[in-house]
Symmetry: C2
Subunit: 436 residues, 2 copies
Amino acid sequence: MASEMLQPSRLVYGSETFKQQLDTLLAWESVSDANVQQVVTDIVERVRNEGDSALLEFTRKFDHLTATSAEELILNKERLQQALVSLSDEQRNALEIAAARIRSYHEKQLQQDWSFQEEDGTVLGQRFTPLDRVGLYVPGGQAAYPSSVLMNAIPANVAGVQEVVMVVPTPGGELNELVLAAAALAGVERVLTIGGAQAIAALAYGTESVPAVDKIVGPGNIYVATAKRMVFGQVGIDMIAGPSEILVISDGKTDPDWIAMDLFSQAEHDEDAQAILISPDLEFLDQVQESMNRLLPTMERKGIITTSVNDRGALIHVPDMKAGAEVVNRIAPEHLELSVEEPEELLSLIRHAGAIFMGRYTAEALGDYCAGPNHVLPTSGTARFSSPLGVYDFQKKTSLIHFSEAGASKAGQVASVLARGEGLTAHARSAEYRIK
Amino acid sequence: MASEMLQPSRLVYGSETFKQQLDTLLAWESVSDANVQQVVTDIVERVRNEGDSALLEFTRKFDHLTATSAEELILNKERLQQALVSLSDEQRNALEIAAARIRSYHEKQLQQDWSFQEEDGTVLGQRFTPLDRVGLYVPGGQAAYPSSVLMNAIPANVAGVQEVVMVVPTPGGELNELVLAAAALAGVERVLTIGGAQAIAALAYGTESVPAVDKIVGPGNIYVATAKRMVFGQVGIDMIAGPSEILVISDGKTDPDWIAMDLFSQAEHDEDAQAILISPDLEFLDQVQESMNRLLPTMERKGIITTSVNDRGALIHVPDMKAGAEVVNRIAPEHLELSVEEPEELLSLIRHAGAIFMGRYTAEALGDYCAGPNHVLPTSGTARFSSPLGVYDFQKKTSLIHFSEAGASKAGQVASVLARGEGLTAHARSAEYRIK
C-alpha cells in the first residue's frame, strides 16, 4: 500500500535550506495544556491535604481499583520475590544478567569523599551521602517496562538509598509479573499499586500510609510529568523526558538492514520518536531507505513506525565525517550510533550525546537492556547540558570547611574586606571576631 | 525601643507542640503570582521572536538605559581588566586571594573519564565534557555581589567552558567596578549590561548580538527566577534559590557574641532569611539572645535583622547533641555551623546540609567569600536531595559503549529475550542481527 511507504525527510548538508530544514526537523516542545494543569493542581492539593482518603478516591476513579484502606495497595517483598520465581528460566536468566551488568557498571560511578589539609591546619573537603528515600514511578499497562525498573532502581540502590518505594498503577487490578520481578532484583523495598498525579503527590508530601520521599524518578504520561514539575522543590525530580531518539552516523559499510532495524528500534517507541541517519554515502542512504520499506511489513508495530519515520525521521547526506560530526553536535542526540570502522577517531569530534554506541556491532538496543550504562538519557537536545541517570543522581554533596585558629585569622581578613565592599557588615564582623 | 527587641521563637525538643512548631517555622513556599507569570511570558516570547529590538526596548523601559544597538551594551575584556586595575590594593588583593582559593578547591572537583574492558573485548565507560557556553546572571544595584561572580564563574571556567557570558542590569547606567573586576578574575569572556526576564530570554534563545547559551546560572529577583523556570528545558538552569539560612548547633562553650553575629550574618541578607541556634545549654540560648539584643543597635542593617529574627529566627533547646543532630537532619540547612569542641564526632550524625562549618573558628561568613567551597547552596531543606554548585554542574556525562563482535552476540541474546518480553520486536531484531 502506498500509504505505508516510508518517506523520511531527505536533507543535504550545505544546501541553501539545510539549516532551516534541520531546525524544523528538530523542533519539539511539549505542550502545556491549561486543562491538564488544572486537573493536576486539584489532585495534588487534595492528596496533600487529605492524604490516604483522597489517594484511595482517585485510585478508584482513575484505575477502577477499589480498596478500603491504603494497606491493600501495598505489595511487599515476598510478593515481589514470588513474581521473580514465577518467570520462565529464560526470562529470569536474562533479567538477572541485565541486572548484574547494570549494577557492575553503576558501581563505577560511586563517588568518594575527599579532603585536603592546608599548611595552617585548615581542612577543606566534600562529602557524599545517599538520599534517604526515593520514589520510582513505573507506568502501568502497555508501557510497563521491567528494564526501566532496573535502570532507575539499581543506581539508587548502589548509591546507598535506604528505601526505594515504587508506584505502579494497575488499572483493573492487572499486575505485570516481569515488572515486579525486576523490582525484586533491583532492591525495591515496597511497591504501591497507585499511579497518576495522585501517586506523585503521595510520594512528594506523604500520606498516612505512603512515606514522603526525597526524590521522584521514572517516566510517566502528561499528568505524571505535570505533577512532577509541580512538586519539584518539595522533592527532587529527574528530567522530564521527551520522545525517544536515535541518530546513526555511518560510513556506509554496515549492512543496510542492520541500520534500518536500528532506526526502527526507536521509531517503534511512539509516533513522536525520532530516527535519523547521517552518511557521506548517498547510495547507502537509498539502500537503507529500501531496507526500511522492505522490512516494514514484517514489523509488529508498523503503524507507529510509519508515522514516526514519515513525520520526524530523516536521512542526511553530508560531504564527509567532519561535517557529519558537526550535525551530530547540533542535534545533541539521546542515542548516537557510530557505525563506522574506527569509531574512536569519530568520537573525538563529538561533543554532545547522551550515550554513544561505537562500532557496527553495538546496536542501540543493547544499551536499552543489558550493556550496563543507563537507558535514562537526555532527550531533545538536552545532552548539551545534561547527563544519563546515574548513581550521582542519588548521592548529594556537602562541603566541609574546618578552619584552624590561624587559618580563620588569615581568611577573616580577606572576608572582612570583601564583605565590607558588599555592604554586609554582620558578615564582616562575624569574620573579624576570629582575627587574632 | 521595645519595637526593636529581638524575640526569636523558642522551641523545646520533645515538648508536645515541638514537631508542629518546627514545621511552621520551616514552612516556606515561593508564591507564584499569575501577574508575574504573564508579564514574564510576554517578555520571553517577544525577545525570542524579535531578538535585539525587543531586548533594547525592554532595557530602555526597565533599566532606563538607551542604546541604539545591542553592541553598545557589551563590555569587553579590556573594560573588565580596567575595573580590576582601578581597585584599591586592599580590595584587589582580597579578591585575588578569594579567587585563587575558590579555583584551587574547585579544581579538586574535576571529573575524569573512565572505562573498563571486559574479557570478550567489550569496552564500557563514561566521558566528561564541558558545556560549550554558559550564561551568568548577576543582579544589579544593591544586590550586585562580586563574590557571587567568583562563585558562579570560576567552576564553569575550571570545567573548561569555552565562553562564560555575564549579564548584569545597570539601571541608569551605573556600573559596579567590584563586580566587573571579579568577572575579569573569574575568566568571564564578555559582559552585557542587560537584566531581568529579557536577559534570560536572550541567553536562552539567542538574539542577533547575544549568543544562545547551554545553561544559565546565578541569582535574581522573582522575574528572573520565573523566566529561568520558563526556559528550563531549552537550556539548563541552576536551582531557584530560596532565602538564605544559617543553623548553628553549639555545645554552649563558644563566645555568645560570636554566635549572635554569625546568626546576624545571614539575617542581614533579607527579611525572609532564617537564623536558628540549637543547643542543649538553656543558659547559653539566653546569653546569645542577650548578645543579639546588645549588638543589634550597632548593626548597619538592623531593620532587616529585626524582621528576619523575629519572624523566622529561633532558639531551640535540645536534651543532647544526638537530639540536636536529629533536628539538623529535619531542617537540612543551607549553612550548618558545628560550634563545638569535637566537630568530627557530631559530623557523623549529620546526613543533610549544604555546607558544614566545623569548629568555633569557622564562621559561616568565611565560606561566603574565601574558604574555597561554593557559596551557592541548596536552601529550604533541599539539601536532602541537592548539592552545592560545582564544577560538576558545568560538565556533562556521556556513556560510551563499544561491544566486540563476541560481546554483541552474547548481549544480543539477553536483549532479545527482554525486548520480546516488553513487546518491542524491532529492538529484539536489531539485537538479533548481531548474534553469531
